[in-house]
């Protein structure tokens, strides 16, 4: 009896000691470290666009019941700011660009920060696009085109600015791209 108490576990339990869990823990630790290293910690997502589909159907195609002038909204990202084209008419700023006398001033010119970097005015672009939305509230497509040297980051920021209005209503979430077309 006294022997049993000293042993803690009695009888047959003495033949099956608790397994050493340290190697298992080492393996688990290694696996966790490997997974954390391999997995990207950045929250990766997608930004969708849609290419313009070619119109099909010739003379026999059924004509729409109601004649509606398409908005045909194009945002031009220039090195001096944004220009906007609505229903084929390109809106630009007034006068010539003080930094480049050969070019007209942009409708929404870039701002220059203290260190001389160009800052695109996405707030002003959003305000303009909200105004354009009033012309055709059903339209949700726009085309983006840019100067050759405009960085991809600026294109993404422009798409972000055009996606929702200030009160979080969809503005122009469907974006297509045009190449070799500059509204200056």
């Amino acid at each position: 009896m006294a022997k049993k108490r000293r042993g803690g576990h009695g009888g047959s339990h003495e033949h099956f000691p608790e397994p050493d869990l340290l190697p298992l823990m080492n393996i688990l630790f290694m696996l966790i470290i490997a997974l954390i290293t391999m997995s990207s910690l950045l929250p990766l997502g997608f930004l969708s666009s849609h290419a313009q589909k070619l119109a099909t159907g010739g003379a026999a195609a059924i004509a729409p019941k109601e004649e509606k002038v398409p908005l045909n909204l194009i945002v031009f990202i220039m090195d001096n700011g944004f220009n906007i084209s609505v229903r084929g008419s390109v809106k630009m700023g007034e006068g010539m660009d003080p930094n480049n006398p050969k070019k007209k001033r942009a409708l929404i010119p870039v701002k220059i920060d203290a260190s001389g970097n160009k800052i695109y005015d996405y707030e002003a672009l959003l305000t303009k696009l909200e105004g354009i939305k009033a012309l055709d509230i059903e339209e949700d497509k726009m085309t983006i085109t840019a100067d050759e040297e405009i960085r991809f980051e600026i294109v993404v920021d422009t798409m972000d600015a055009a996606r929702f209005s200030k009160d979080k209503k969809p503005l122009y979430p469907l974006v297509s791209f045009a190449a070799g077309m500059v509204g200056a």
């Binding site: 997502g45 997608f46 969708s48 849609h50 972000d160």
Partner: protein
């Protein structure tokens, strides 16, 4: 009272008990399962040190698709002291990790690769091959047709000149559902 204390002290010094690791192992197993689950959910990971993705407010989820990658002109590295630095790198265009062309200075596309000014020939040809393979796989498999979706993993500094040519080349190969990889930011 003092006798009890002495008795307890004597007992604890005599028996050095191993702490129970079972609860810790439970915790580690749960963590491991969580990590494996998270790891398997994301079909696309961007590990290339020469790509800095743009940040966007878009909340769209990641999907598996054919990936066109345009790397940047700088690569993340570490100096002798382990401090992160950016070192120059030659930008490339790759499809599913298979490098097709090396870009020139300022991300320019060598003229021998261009077709009708806007189409990058090797990219279009590779995508046509992938499309053909996808068609064969779809016929053999569940019959899910060609979706035309394509993922662009593009460095944030790539100019529109290069990006637009890659988009035109993809559209020429029938891939017109463009999706750009971004790093999510709360709006």
């Amino acid at each position: 009272m003092s006798r009890d204390f002495r008795k307890r002290k004597k007992k604890s010094s005599a028996e050095v008990t191993m702490p129970s690791l079972v609860s810790l192992i439970d915790l580690l197993t749960v963590l491991l399962v969580y990590l494996i689950k998270t790891f398997s959910v994301s079909p696309i990971t961007v590990q290339d040190p020469s790509i800095q993705l743009p940040i966007s407010t878009s909340q769209e989820a990641v999907e598996d698709s054919v990936v066109v990658m345009i790397t940047g002109a700088e690569r993340r590295d570490a100096d002798a002291k382990g401090k992160p630095i950016m070192v120059p790198e030659i930008p490339t265009i790759a499809v599913d990790d298979d490098v097709l062309i090396q870009l020139g200075e300022n991300y320019s596309i060598p003229t021998q690769y261009l077709e009708r000014q806007f189409v990058i020939r090797p990219l279009k040809q590779r995508l046509l091959e992938v499309r053909k393979q996808q068609g064969v796989t779809a016929e053999l498999g569940s019959g899910e047709g060609f979706s035309g979706k394509i993922v662009f993993v593009v460095d944030r500094n790539v100019p529109y000149r290069t990006l637009s040519r890659a988009l035109v080349s993809s559209a020429e190969a029938g891939y017109d559902g463009f999706k750009f990889a971004i790093v999510k930011r709360e709006s």
